[in-house]
């Protein structure tokens, strides 16, 4: 139980650090960067749930991110809906689209699923790009309002928006935590490890995959809607493959299929990208090979690597303990034998 206590302390310290961050870092740029990273993290948690825990690579998630973002923009600006109603509607609409895509896409497996979702993602991109009258096409979509006030809470300042996004992130992490350690989460992992075995055990794989997919789309659309209200400008390139690639990089660097992975990976990669800003368009020259090398030599990512290291260490400790116990028993036995012999000879 000591491990659990320790983990809880760490978590509390991290949350406290996140809450105190804007108070100590007066630099508005860093607050902005952190807010954006939090938004990415929410989307990466969505991807992690499906790719990491359920074992299906969906390449349409950037598309769902964009649908969430554009739905919020269109509902607030063109339809004139109140912000929070539009916010909820944007997430629901994207999730609904996710249900339909999932129903069809999940009939396919492995490569077919990846290719299918890649095409779905591209269709979403093309529609956003070409449907000028609704989305503004390549010129982009501007004038999205900042989050509206809730009672006495106002979200007009960057710091207030930081806390809003942090709140959503914590909710997502909490849901993920509850889910992963529940029977449902175990079921997803069982599907990832062997779908046929899971099916044999009486798990309805289709139902579970769909639930996991839809929830993962929901998280991603939430991130999209937050993105729209925070950046307040949208271009079709947020639906593009490169955004998908960013999500994947964050997830893999942090550790696919781990709870801490999305946070660790997103923070590290966005921080590094800031350092490499002089490269701008060419940053893929570094991140492309990094991703490929990572998947060859270190596929568990940072969080996954630490978990494995810990597991190995505790295993080693257990073995050592057993060994010392065994040798102690052996020594005791031989001592007893000797004393018996002396007694006989004596």
């Amino acid at each position: 139980m000591a491990i659990l206590e320790k983990r809880r302390l760490w978590l509390a310290a991290l949350i406290a650090a996140a809450i105190l961050f804007p108070l100590f870092v007066a630099n508005g740029y860093y607050v902005h960067m952190m807010t954006i990273s939090f938004i990415w993290m929410i989307a990466v948690y969505g991807l992690n749930l499906f790719a990491g825990y359920t074992g299906y690579l969906s390449l349409a998630h950037a598309g769902f991110f964009a649908i969430g973002a554009y739905a919020l923009g269109i509902l607030t600006v063109k339809a004139g809906w109140p912000f929070w109603l539009a916010f909820a509607a944007a997430c629901l609409l994207t999730t609904l689209i996710g249900v339909f895509v999932g129903l069809v896409a999940l009939r396919t497996k492995e490569h077919f699923f990846a290719i299918y979702t890649l095409c779905v993602g591209y269709i979403i991109y093309l529609i956003i790009d070409k449907w000028d009258s609704l989305t503004g096409g390549v010129r982009g979509f501007i004038g999205i309002p900042a989050p509206a006030d809730i009672g006495p809470l106002s979200f007009q300042t960057p710091v207030a928006q930081y806390y809003l996004v942090l709140f959503f992130l914590l909710v997502v992490v909490w849901i993920m935590h509850r889910l992963v350690y529940s029977l449902t989460g175990r079921t997803y992992i069982a599907i990832r490890n062997s779908e046929e075995l899971a099916l044999t055990l009486g798990i309805s794989t289709m139902k579970n995959k769909l639930a996991s997919f839809v929830l993962s789309v929901f998280f991603t659309s939430l991130a999209g809607a937050l993105y729209a209200s925070f950046i307040r400008f949208l271009g079709p390139d947020i639906a593009y493959v490169s955004v998908m690639f960013d999500f994947l990089t964050y997830l893999l660097v942090g550790g696919i299929g781990t709870l801490a992975g999305p946070v660790v990976g997103t923070l590290l990669v966005t921080f590094l990208s800031q350092q490499l800003q002089f490269l701008q368009d060419y940053r893929m020259l570094i991140f492309g090979p990094v991703l490929t090398l990572l998947i060859i030599f270190y596929p568990h990512g940072i969080a996954g690597g630490i978990i494995r290291l810990k597991a190995r260490r505790s295993e080693a400790r257990r073995l050592q303990l057993e060994a010392t116990q065994a040798s102690a028993e052996l020594a005791a036995a031989s001592r007893q034998e000797r004393s018996e012999r002396y007694a006989k000879e004596g």
């Binding site: 790719a51 069809v104 269709i123 690639f245 994947l248 060419y282 940053r283 492309g288 090979p289």
Partner: protein
Amino acid sequence: MELFIQQLLNGLTVGSVYSLVALGLTLVYGILHIPNFAHGALYMMGGYVTLMAMTKLGMPYGIAIVASMAAVGLLGVLMERLVFYPLRNAPPLHDKIAAIGILLFLEAFAQFVWGADYQTMPTPYGDVVTVFGFTLTIQRILIIASAVIIMILLYLFLKKTFIGASIIAMAQNREGANLVGINTNKVAMLTFFLSGSLAALAASLASPINLVFPGMGHLVILKAFVIIILGGMGSIPGAIVGGYILGFSESLGATYVSNDYKDIIAFAILVIILTVKPNGLFAKEGR
């Protein structure tokens, strides 16, 4: 009617290019069972190498194409050795992610070295000829003719030569091929070489009509995936037929439906196919 036939000719040209790209993709899929998302990047590199060989080194078009086929083929071999070979026992998720990594690297590389501009490739075959009352450029005839010749040569190579037969053997059963003494490593490298060369050829032929730019491989590779799903993953005749079906439906769709949305046609076809048959058309039964 004249418009219709003109569009059929267009479809034949576009379909030839698609078929060549899809052939490379389906060969690799047949051997290694990985969807090579980086194949589009090979296509793009093919376009650039030909263009650079012509403009910077002053090679004639034909020789530049051969040089480009060799260079991109070797790039494919390098990819197999450095990335896909180490990943041969990894979960399937890993190959796909690694391929996406290569794709983005090569694109950034092209943009870094040759710039993001759209470039035109000069061709000595730009003249217009009139055949049976239809006008078309010699370049288009060249595309169709060379695609057909390459397809026949590839078919003969796979069916009539020993090395070709070993590729097919490996596609049928990797362990079995290994047991009868086929060096699967060499066959895998050869397949990647062929795949890269076919992509380079397709890009070099199509570039004088389209343009050369870092993102030129995106749509082509997605469509090639549609084609090999249409024709059956790993099937060579399927890739050829699928390529022409897609070429025709696109050129007719662009004329009679909407030019803006013609790129969606391919994906709509795919979505419909996979909705009805989740394992693709012509999926092998009993597996």
